[in-house]
Symmetry: C2
Subunit: 421 residues, 2 copies
Amino acid sequence: MSEETREDIGAYVRRVALASREASRGLRAASGAQRNRALVEAARLLHERRAAIKAANAVDYGAAERGGLAAAMLDRLLLTDARIDDMVRGVREISAMEDPVGAVEGVRRPDGFLLEKVRVPIGVVAIIYESRPNVTADAACLCLKSGNACILRSGKEAMESGKAITAAITEAVALAGLPAASVQYIERTEHQGVTELVRQSGIVDLVVPRGGEALIRRVVEDATVPVIKHFKGVCHLYVDRAADLAMALEVVENSKMQKVGVCNTLESLLVHADVAAGFLPRIASRLERVELRGCERTRRFVPRAKAATEEDYAREYLDYILSVKVVDSLEEAASRIERYGSQHTDGIITQDSRAAEAFVAAVDSAVVTVNASTRLADGGVFGLGAEIGISTDKLHARGPMGVRELTSYKWVVRGDGTLRR
Amino acid sequence: MSEETREDIGAYVRRVALASREASRGLRAASGAQRNRALVEAARLLHERRAAIKAANAVDYGAAERGGLAAAMLDRLLLTDARIDDMVRGVREISAMEDPVGAVEGVRRPDGFLLEKVRVPIGVVAIIYESRPNVTADAACLCLKSGNACILRSGKEAMESGKAITAAITEAVALAGLPAASVQYIERTEHQGVTELVRQSGIVDLVVPRGGEALIRRVVEDATVPVIKHFKGVCHLYVDRAADLAMALEVVENSKMQKVGVCNTLESLLVHADVAAGFLPRIASRLERVELRGCERTRRFVPRAKAATEEDYAREYLDYILSVKVVDSLEEAASRIERYGSQHTDGIITQDSRAAEAFVAAVDSAVVTVNASTRLADGGVFGLGAEIGISTDKLHARGPMGVRELTSYKWVVRGDGTLRR
């Protein structure tokens, strides 16, 4: 890249960021009704512009196919009518959610004044993602709902789809009388654009990377703006010695099979030695489509299991593969989860309430489950509404991150000439 | 610095960080009573070890004096009996606070399971500060209270004082049966130590820099661990056309004079043109000790005011200096606050409730005051207990940051074989 191009991209990204900053003032002043109007119009326009969006997606898809993109990636990129219906339904659901902005969360009456803690938008949010075109609509609409200006930057393979979807949303924004720059889409595809974007401290308030580990690590490395990470989910279930094995069969099967390519799917199974003989052959026949990679004891009970390596236990397969380990205690299970897990979602299956409580206390994951499928770890299932992702960070937002987590708060002091003594 | 030294420091910091990580497990498992016992013992030992702490401080002070440290910095460094009393009282107050850990903050009952949101410690917190020795006790005890292991790194001029204070606290930690590495103090003074510390992603969970802008910017630039910034406070008061001028005199005087060297002190005064003639001469005579730097209109009413430069309006003086500007509207005041302020604490003085609400909505600062002193922006005054600082960030914690803001949460799903359909 020439020096000139690099400067061009820097200047372009800064211009976009400053326009977002300016728009965020207008969004902060807008009412919830006005923001909702933009969302209702966005749902309508995305529905009406279906043909144009599919045509743009066909351009992306064709180029990606010719470029030899892997089948799983091509599938992520594809927009079908059903997926556009889902996208439109998602936007309608966001518009129907409660307004997260303006709520007075706490009132105190210290000496001589009234103190309120009030929810406010964060300001300018940058979302950096890869090839799923529906993220464009989801992320833009979650930001609009929460009063944030957003800057979207997708992978280059989804660029035409992203532009077509953003065009519908920015038209909706204009119809609602909101600032034009409320939703902006960065078209330049060089990685330099991301680097510049995540260094706009004081202009951009938050970066949310959504994608593979490599993308997230690069963003964290470069960023001076705060980042909320949505890392991988290496989710575990531990089948305790006091487990109801019939229940364990159902929960393990559901956790692994209900949807295999997502971050809350089961990747590693831990089984107490006392129940290994009774449980492992049965779960192996339930999961006949799944390749099992196990420890020596596992392979004694399940001859078809391959030998697991150390790396296997830390992997997010997102596939019909499961690592399996026989453990001698709950403590061993918890310490393996700490070592190999990703602090996303980890659970125990047991009828022993003391074991359950010990597990909940020992395992420091965003979501800890007891006698429940890991697949329940989801903002929608939790009743929190649409989510922008599942945070594996501990700061600000942990686990499902929805519109409330896209807000901050401010303190309002109301006095009558109140002084500090 | 030789390559060898650099590697030494890297290895040393990593060893410290890993020991903290391990200690954080023990702290997570400890009860609130056990953590409080450590705090009670710490208060006792800090009181008893007063002579040793003062002797260590004398070493620091002597070296700093010989090294030509500025008077204001020397004063920050000095530990008097009164300041040690304050430190001990602070630790006792922290021990008396409500336990922020373990509270179930929200319970939902989605289909088929019980969902709890539970407060948990963040894990490992690094605090990087400068020369005030009392920060060592404050920060360590706030972290103990909230169940976090902490790594303390002060400026080299306060190193002996910091070691003496830490020695008392780690003895208290041992008496309470908590892990020895719950509180650690980094002794190496090279800046390389800070750089290594703020890059321990996955081991250190949070970095809180406390100090001047240069320190904070360097930490933000280097860090891969999340940082909560406590930047400067360029606090404003706007005297509206509808202000009660007698109240305005009191509030402005208190905001500027009650304590001059702190982040919530008043640094810039904005006065509506309609009341400038009536207000400016009176406030100028009230603030006779204060150097005023004003705009042309200000200087018409206050001949002793010097001409303010652009930079004057953005400065955090922490001194008997105040910038003054006459404005023509509330909107102009709000836009100046956005441009020159630091989103810390900014207020309006008015009897017009519409003007007050417009100001509260327009000004995006951590604390917004109406008819009240900026000096009220304080965790203690707010009734939130001792604070580790006042965050000018918008993520996680905004404004006064106390023990609750040193916690995170986890989601606990309690099912009875609950699956995702």
